[in-house]
């Protein structure tokens, strides 16, 4: 679903919540994300390597978590928004069979620059917090 509308800076309030997004985690998503980000570290595509590292299966690489976090905020903000910064703290790994729910809330606004900070949390249904952090995005003053 393509979002062609951009949110205007003045329409955003601190405390606004973004619609939650559920991402089913599959081997295909984990491997696909690793390869799309050119990250061929074996633990992201080779289950035996992941198990040698102490995890039961391949797990999502950080670039994919980053990509999903960025996507989550621009899905809401729209195509004319500009992502300035993604600051992410990593928690429990995302493994095949999990479902990650991403939620977000506007935490700060800067009138001078039109910049908005969105706090984003991605929690999986088995091991809890996978990622939490802030996406800083510049919005046009008026849409």
């Amino acid at each position: 679903m393509s979002n062609t509308k951009t949110v205007a800076y003045k329409a955003v309030q601190v405390g606004d919540k973004l619609p939650p997004l559920e991402i089913p985690i599959t081997s295909s998503l984990i491997v696909g994300g690793a390869i799309a980000s050119r990250d061929f570290t074996p633990v992201h595509h080779d289950r035996a390597a992941a198990q040698a590292g102490g995890l039961p299966d391949v797990f999502m690489n950080i670039l994919t978590s980053n990509g999903l976090m960025g996507r989550y905020v621009t899905d809401w903000a729209g195509p004319d928004a500009t992502v300035k910064k993604i600051d992410i703290k990593l928690g429990a790994p995302n493994l095949p069979g999990f479902v990650m729910t991403i939620t977000g809330e506007v935490k700060a606004k800067d009138d001078a620059t039109g910049i908005v900070d969105v706090a984003v949390v991605g929690e999986n249904n088995v091991w809890g917090m996978h990622m939490m952090g802030t996406v800083r995005v510049a919005l046009p003053k008026e849409a």
Binding site: N3, G33, Q51, L63, K84, E123
Partner: protein
Amino acid sequence: MTPEEKKVFMDKIHAFVGMEMAPPTKGPDDVNKAMIRHWCEVMGDANPVYTDEAFAKASSKGSIIAPPAMLQAWSLEGYPMHSPSKDEALLDNQRKLHKVFDDHGYTGVLGTNCTQEYFRDLKPGDQVIAHTVIDSISEEKATQRGIGHFIETVTRFTDQNGEKVGEMRFRVLKFIPNESNKVESAKDEGKPEVPTRIASPRGHDNAWWWQQVDKGVVPIQRCKNCQTLRHPPRSMCGECQSIEWDFIESKLEGEVFSFVELHYPKFPGYQYPLICAVISLGEGTRIVSNIVGCKPEDVKIGMKVKGKVEQVDEKTMLPQFYPA
């Protein structure tokens, strides 16, 4: 490690601080539409400025841009990453540093933080060159995963004109895996273990209570001498000091005496929203339990509730209370 060995190790790792990880690396491919489309396909990112030429042209971007989160992807080595050289001399400084850790038992590695800043949008035809420096190595820290050190690298990304287009701080933990984690992974057969609630404490004075709950009964302890009811279970009656007791079965009818909603941190194995309440039972004692079957905002002090024993996860039977 003896204190002397530890000092040698610390000196070895600290010698890496400030070093360039490798000579500046230009990605094998310039920013290009095919890799952007591939990324968007996997991420489920339908932002039209990444893939729809006509839309992007008419937008404030002026042309197709790359998703900012792809920043690092443009400079990664790709397929050779799956098997780094066995020849130590050919390893980059980061891999050499990791090898020092590996050789001292710090075999675990875990990414913990990543901060990326983007100074301009990247467009097809742009080149991305990564300059990475090993910025800091922490003192030894005890973490949930095991004892280890945090290594922080800083990468500056420049373009074909030498202009800075982005920056990344990346922190990993190199750690000695905990024995307990090893045991857990050894018994794994490719299925992640689903966490369960914290196990009930079953000591000398209260194991009998939980054993009844396992059978679906919520008991209330009763003094054999003066008939006073008491909960939680304990060895002596507070009224008459008798240590003789039996129990009755609670009807699990009562009202909310007090409650709290647990928000953060979320514990694996628990279902949220999670309401923890003190219930005044009809029999006269109180019990700590969960309120389920209604929205958190509908829970009120004084609300009538009715409980039943339920299996809440693979290992746990617990009384749970519903609005009556």
